[in-house]
């Protein structure tokens, strides 16, 4: 079966049965992750659709965050972590030695569980990425990138008068949107979100969820979440992980209404997790 993603349009029948107009952005095959001797992910194969939100759900410690971190090679920074298998993006294996993780991460952005703005001004937080990647020619260009990123993250109106204020002086929800703006500023194609709302109150969470729904039109978003309601609200596709294995993946509606696997059903009905 042909599962290369050379032109970004090929896709496997049966994996994305209800989204024929959506192309595959990343394709993972037989991923195994080890922390030293301990295996954390077992043989996970997953295709991720472009311009949609894929939610990774599962009980704590099931490996969904570890899997997410494979997608921009953030696991490289963890001592003793080893990733096997192939993750194809635009026809190339991102784990191959010819791929520079620095370039990969500029195309696969990431938002973390706890908002982690740089302890610098709001402007500098956004401008840092474009600057190190040389995306802006001159000051005006940079101003434009900063404004556009903040607008897309829905933060512009709130901070446009105080761009020189420290990013850490914003509220938690604003900080998280600032982090999203920072990720957008380097023009990524994929945005990974690792429980982006777990440290936020319900109102800030609702704003982020709106934002995610909005960003879906331009980016491929993969979100790890503990909240099944959130997965149901924001995602088009959902993957259920359990004990390091991918149990079931499918359309969000299908997963939440008629799960095929017994464990998925038990989890979403709250029998464990």
């Amino acid at each position: 079966m042909d599962d290369t993603l050379g032109n970004g349009t090929t896709m496997e029948k049966g994996v994305l049965p209800d989204a024929p107009e959506t192309s595959v952005r990343m394709s993972c095959r037989n991923i195994n992750v080890f922390y030293g001797e301990k295996q954390a992910i077992y043989d996970v194969s997953l295709q991720i659709a472009d311009r949609s939100v894929t939610a990774l759900i599962g009980p704590s410690g099931c490996g969904k965050s570890t899997f997410l971190r494979c997608l921009n090679r953030m696991n490289d920074t963890i001592e003793g972590c080893r990733v096997e298998g192939e993750i194809m993006m635009e026809g190339k294996d991102i784990n191959s030695p010819v791929i520079d993780p620095v370039l990969l991460r500029s195309r696969v952005g990431m938002v973390f569980q706890k908002p982690n703005p740089f302890p610098k001004s709001i402007y500098e937080n956004i401008a840092y990425g474009p600057r190190i990647h040389g995306l802006a020619q001159g000051r005006e260009d940079m101003d434009e990138i900063v404004e556009k990123s903040l607008r897309r993250a829905g933060l512009w109106e709130e901070v446009k008068d105080r761009l020189n204020l420290a990013g850490t002086s914003l509220s938690g929800g604003q900080q998280q949107r600032l982090c999203i703006a920072r990720a957008i500023a380097v023009r990524p194609e994929v945005i990974l979100m690792d429980e982006p709302c777990s440290a936020l109150d319900p109102i800030a969470t609702a704003r982020i969820e709106e934002l995610i729904d909005d960003l879906r039109k331009r980016y491929c978003i993969i979100i790890v979440t503990h909240s099944m309601q959130q997965a149901a609200r924001v995602s088009q596709r959902t993957a259920f992980f359990h004990l390091g294995a991918l149990v079931e993946v499918g359309d969000t509606d299908q997963i939440f209404t008629s799960p095929r696997d017994r464990r998925t059903e038990d989890y979403i009905t709250g029998r464990f997790g």
Partner: protein, 520 residues
């Protein structure tokens, strides 16, 4: 206020346990307060003892002279000639000999008189004459430091003395021996002398009594309630007739003192004339080391210390910080780095004298670098503080949260960009603190510098890191081991100077910390 009997928690056992816990809390608080109180008391005691000792060296006595720089003696001096120390000192001696004619034809007395001002004391004046020959042909007033023993005498430090006012008395002279008469005028003096246990007939073992009027002084040989007798040490009969008389009881015998009765008499005469004054001891900061305490200063040692620290800082800080960044941010965690880490921690605990031995063997022996030079001292001290700097910098890097690194890596920064753009600025205050505390330790180190020969007597300010030099703590060591009394307050003064430098460095640490922490 609820009734304890009603509360379900307020049974007898629970209350007793609560009381015990509160008592333990209180006890612990008091242990802490005691510990802090003890530390503060020790510090205060130390500072107070050093300060009181050093205060006496903060001022010193100078004698003013009008030197007639006549053209015959000083004409034809060129700017690169050696300073005419002997010629200037000749003027000073001539001035003193003219002032006290009793020293004529008596070489012993002449020697005693010249000892009031040491020969080397005129060196700055002689240098000034060479540098500025326009003053030749004019009369110039100079102030020369009094010899250390006499200075200490005037400060009351090396011979206990008390004065008793007598008033006006009658005076007569026969063959250089003066007789002072006054009805019952000397009763108080007799009382004071017996209170001090002094016996005039046995002055050799009990000290001397000098009677002073105006610029003249006699030494007491017989003491009656209405009549005293004694040889004139300096001055004239006239002063005793026209001035009120004061008695001066010096309780230690002349043979046990470093100043003679005659020197005291001359000094009192100069003082009565207004030529002796107590001035701030700036030469302590502007002079270099000397064999004479009144001429010695710390300038060479301060410059030597600064040059040494310069070498130390330029080596230890960059190497230490780079090593800590590599070990903390880049190096893999394995057996080799573990071994390195253990060794760095052990090196920080190696006694400093061992580093001195290493420096003597390697830098002096194997590399043949110059002895007593700040460059070698700096190298040794750099080795000494390197582990301190590395450990402090690593702790500062460790304290930077991982989320900042993640954030930078996630926008596509390389590891080096992550470290230098984000981690380093956050760790900088801690790194700086470690570096400057390390430097403060280097500033106070003595033992390694002794071993590489920086204990040498240095009379010239070093011009560069390869010149012979000494350092402040070593100067403290060498002055503290000197026998003369005058060195004691001088040593206290150098300790204070060193403390000022240390406190200044710690102040810089606090300032930088505040500044950086506010910015981030």
């Amino acid at each position: 206020m609820s009734d304890p009997a009603v509360s379900p928690f307020a049974n007898e056992r629970a209350l007793k346990r609560l009381r015990r816990r509160r008592a333990a809390d209180r006890r612990f608080k008091w242990y802490g307060r005691l510990a802090i109180g003890f530390a503060l008391a020790a510090l205060t005691l130390l500072l107070a003892s050093i300060t009181t000792q050093a205060m006496s060296a903060a001022t010193y006595h100078v004698v003013s002279f009008d030197l007639d720089l006549d053209k015959e003696t000083f004409g034809g001096l060129k700017t690169d000639d050696p300073p005419p120390v002997d010629k200037v000192y000749g003027l000073v001696r001539a001035d003193l000999l003219a002032q006290f004619p009793e020293t004529a034809r008596n070489p012993v007395l002449r020697h005693e008189l010249s000892a009031l001002v040491t020969r080397l004391a005129v060196l700055p004046v002689a240098r000034e004459i060479v540098r500025n020959p326009r003053e030749i042909g004019m009369t110039r007033q100079v102030q020369l430091p009094l010899s250390d023993d006499l200075d200490l005498y005037l400060k009351g430090a090396n011979a206990r003395h008390l004065t008793v006012p007598i008033g006006r008395v009658g005076a007569e002279e026969t063959n250089g021996v003066l007789t002072l008469t006054g009805e019952g005028a000397f009763k108080r003096l007799i009382a004071a002398a017996s209170l001090e246990g002094m016996q005039i007939q046995d002055a050799r073992s009990t000290g001397s009594i000098l009677m002073t009027a105006g610029q003249s002084t006699l030494k007491l040989s017989t003491l009656d309630p209405s009549r005293i007798k004694g040889p004139l040490l300096t001055g004239s009969l006239q002063d005793f007739r026209t001035h009120p008389v004061r008695a001066r009881l010096i309780t230690s015998p002349e043979s046990e003192r470093t100043v003679t009765d005659r020197q005291i008499a001359w000094l009192l005469a100069l003082k009565a004339e207004g030529r002796v004054s107590r001035v701030p001891h700036w030469s302590l900061l502007t002079h270099t080391d000397s064999t004479q305490p009144e001429l010695a200063g710390t300038l060479a040692a301060i410059v030597g210390s600064l040059l040494t620290l310069l070498v130390t800082a330029s080596l230890a800080i960059p190497i230490g910080i780079l090593a800590s960044i590599y070990l903390e941010e880049f190096a893999p965690r394995n057996r080799v780095t573990g071994l390195i880490e253990v060794n760095i921690n052990n090196l920080a605990a190696v006694p400093s004298i061992v580093f001195g031995l290493l420096g003597a063997a390697v830098f002096l022996g194997a590399f043949g670098l110059p002895r007593s030079a700040p460059v070698v001292g700096g190298l040794v001290l750099a080795l000494l503080i390197l582990p301190v700097v590395i450990i402090a910098s690593r702790a500062a890097l460790k304290a930077v949260p991982q989320s900042i690194r993640d954030a930078a890596l996630a926008v596509g920064a390389s590891r080096m960009q992550t470290v230098f753009h984000h981690v380093m600025p956050l760790a900088a205050p801690g790194m700086l603190t470690g570096a400057i505390l390390g430097m403060a330790r280097a500033l106070g180190e003595t033992a390694p510098l002794l071993l590489i020969g920086m204990v040498a007597f240095v009379a010239e300010v070093p011009n560069g890191p390869t010149d012979e030099a000494t350092a402040l703590p070593v100067l403290i060591y060498s002055w503290a081991t000197q026998a003369e009394r005058a060195w004691e307050p001088m040593t206290g003064a150098v300790i204070l100077i060193l403390l000022v430098f240390l406190i200044a460095m710690n102040g810089v640490v606090v300032f930088l910390r505040r500044k950086f922490e506010r910015r981030w």
